[in-house]
Symmetry: C2
Subunit: 332 residues, 2 copies
């Protein structure tokens, strides 16, 4: 089979669709000194990648039209001109959406498959796990007995946030978009209550009912009307780690809504936007603690896996309709 890549065909206006992506045959260059030939086995698709499809200044540069998309991946080294990498090594890094790639060894990290299954390095031991860990603990600072609400609760980050909050001794309330997710989070992941935002007749009241002592920490993965309803229920001195705004990523106009500053002011609330790169000096600490909790059975993990390189666009689009429970992974 020819080597293939998936390029950004055009910048989407609003929701991306099949026309956003184009499959192309791929010729790989010869390896130069320092290069590694790597074959991806798992790709991660993540909501933040939607932002890179726009031509906008952000914390990661935009994708280039006509060039391959790229995302977190685990792969196997096929050939190497880079010291420290040998054929057969398992590696992780940001890789182009291609069936094989030549990348500098400096862009890769070897991973230890004895510690956890390889795909975990894209989830609970990777970006989503670290995002949950640092966002909740460093910004949210939950104390035992407090109430933690997490939106996008069944997503890659949310499902870990809820479990870490339980480890801290908090009451944990999730917000998710289907009754199946509600049941799963309550029965298998230990959430104290979960609100289905799609069916609650009055979301503000539903959250109030699920949080009789108010909301002390709101881990926000979604933004929009869901967050408006949580913010109505904040306690004095509440904290909001601002992690994602997936509800707004596909809007074409500047989204508007109720102004939140008066509420944040009168209740002395902290809101802190963050990206995981802010914590790169502490990744080691995070991975060690997450791995320990997994080993001790305190952190459960789940993935939604689509199979086949050609499923990457579907997986990406599925994030915006809530197709995933836990981490969305494509097995190549």
């Amino acid at each position: 089979m020819n080597k293939q890549q998936i390029v950004l065909a055009a910048r989407p206006k609003g929701m991306p669709d099949a026309s956003t992506f184009r499959f192309e045959d791929l010729q790989l260059p010869r390896l130069q000194s320092g290069d590694v030939l790597v074959e991806p086995t798992y790709f991660s698709v993540d909501p933040y990648m939607r932002g890179r499809m726009n031509d906008a200044k952000s914390y990661v540069p935009p994708f280039v039209v006509g060039e391959p998309l790229a995302g977190g991946a685990v792969g196997t080294v096929i050939d190497s001109q880079s010291e420290g990498f040998a054929p057969g090594d398992l590696v992780t890094g940001t890789l182009p959406w291609a069936t094989q790639s030549v990348v500098p060894g400096t862009a890769l990290k070897k991973l230890d498959p004895s510690l956890a299954p390889a795909s975990y390095y894209l989830g609970i031991l990777g970006m989503p796990g670290l995002t949950a860990y640092f966002g909740l603990l460093d910004i949210g600072k939950p104390k035992a007995g407090e109430t933690v609400v997490v939106s996008g609760a069944a997503g890659a980050v949310g499902i870990i946030v809820g479990q870490i909050a339980k480890i801290q001794g908090c009451r944990v309330v999730g917000i998710a978009g289907s009754d199946d997710k509600v049941t799963l989070l309550q029965d298998q992941f230990g959430f104290d209550a979960v609100v289905n935002y799609k069916t609650a007749p009055d979301l503000t009241k539903a959250i109030a009912d699920a949080c009789p002592d108010g909301v002390d920490v709101y881990f926000d993965n979604v933004g929009g009307a869901v967050s408006d309803a949580v913010i109505e229920n904040l306690n004095f001195h509440a904290r909001i780690p601002l992690c994602g705004q997936i509800a707004l990523y596909n809007t074409t106009d500047v989204p508007t809504g109720p102004r939140i500053q008066p509420m944040l002011l009168t209740r002395s609330v902290l809101m802190q936007g963050f990206i995981i790169g802010n914590y790169k000096d502490r990744f080691g600490e995070g991975v060690r603690q997450l791995a320990a909790w997994v080993r001790e059975g305190k952190l459960q993990y789940t993935e939604t896996t689509l199979t086949g390189f050609d499923k990457l666009p579907d997986a990406m689009l599925g994030l915006f309709s809530g197709q995933n429970t836990g981490k969305m992974i494509v097995e190549v």
Copy 2:
């Protein structure tokens, strides 16, 4: 002349006006043990008092219809049944809007008129000074060379914020509502630039022009469209001490505007609402430092004074049309 008080005649809907207030003759009770009879010499009127006119849960209880309004005041003790207070003492505390009052001694603090003029205890050495000090330094954490923007820059808090930011070695940009205020802040208070939000044809661009290196700290006294324009210009890792939202205090509907979370997220911005009561354990530190800066000539101070007890309603209403430069004071 009869003793008088000013009561809340009715809760205002939207902007308060003369009908919000009612003057009444006043009979004072006899002093009980622990009481002090005090005659106010200066009253402070402050934007936060608008919130107390609503029947809404907030960090201070609402005023009661038919009962006197109350605010920060400096006064002279006329008679005392409270240990530690004697006739002639200068005191400060929250006093009812009345020409004389009987209050418990525990509600008063003696002040030292040798340190600063008595009215300063309502301004630079009182709530506005402490608000500027803790909000800017504790939340804003300005570093030398950074750019600090303050809205409501000619108000009681803003004019102090700008000067403290200059002491920290920052570039200071104010936002104010008249050309006179612009001139005053630049010429007498050391602001590097001031934008007149009422006349700037494109406020976002005017702020960008005044802040060629972007905005690192935004001390927000006003909210609304002015804040939207500043937020467009925030740098990565910017901080927003959320102090006031005077632009929204008289709205009758829930105010709406562009959602700010996507911007705070992608730029890792911190926004922290606060009230000065959060820092009450550190008031001593704040007053000492502010007094030292005043003594050293590093902090200039200015007041707008109306004369006469009957001017209290006008002074309060004047806050919302920007009648004051610096602290708004009523000399009784």
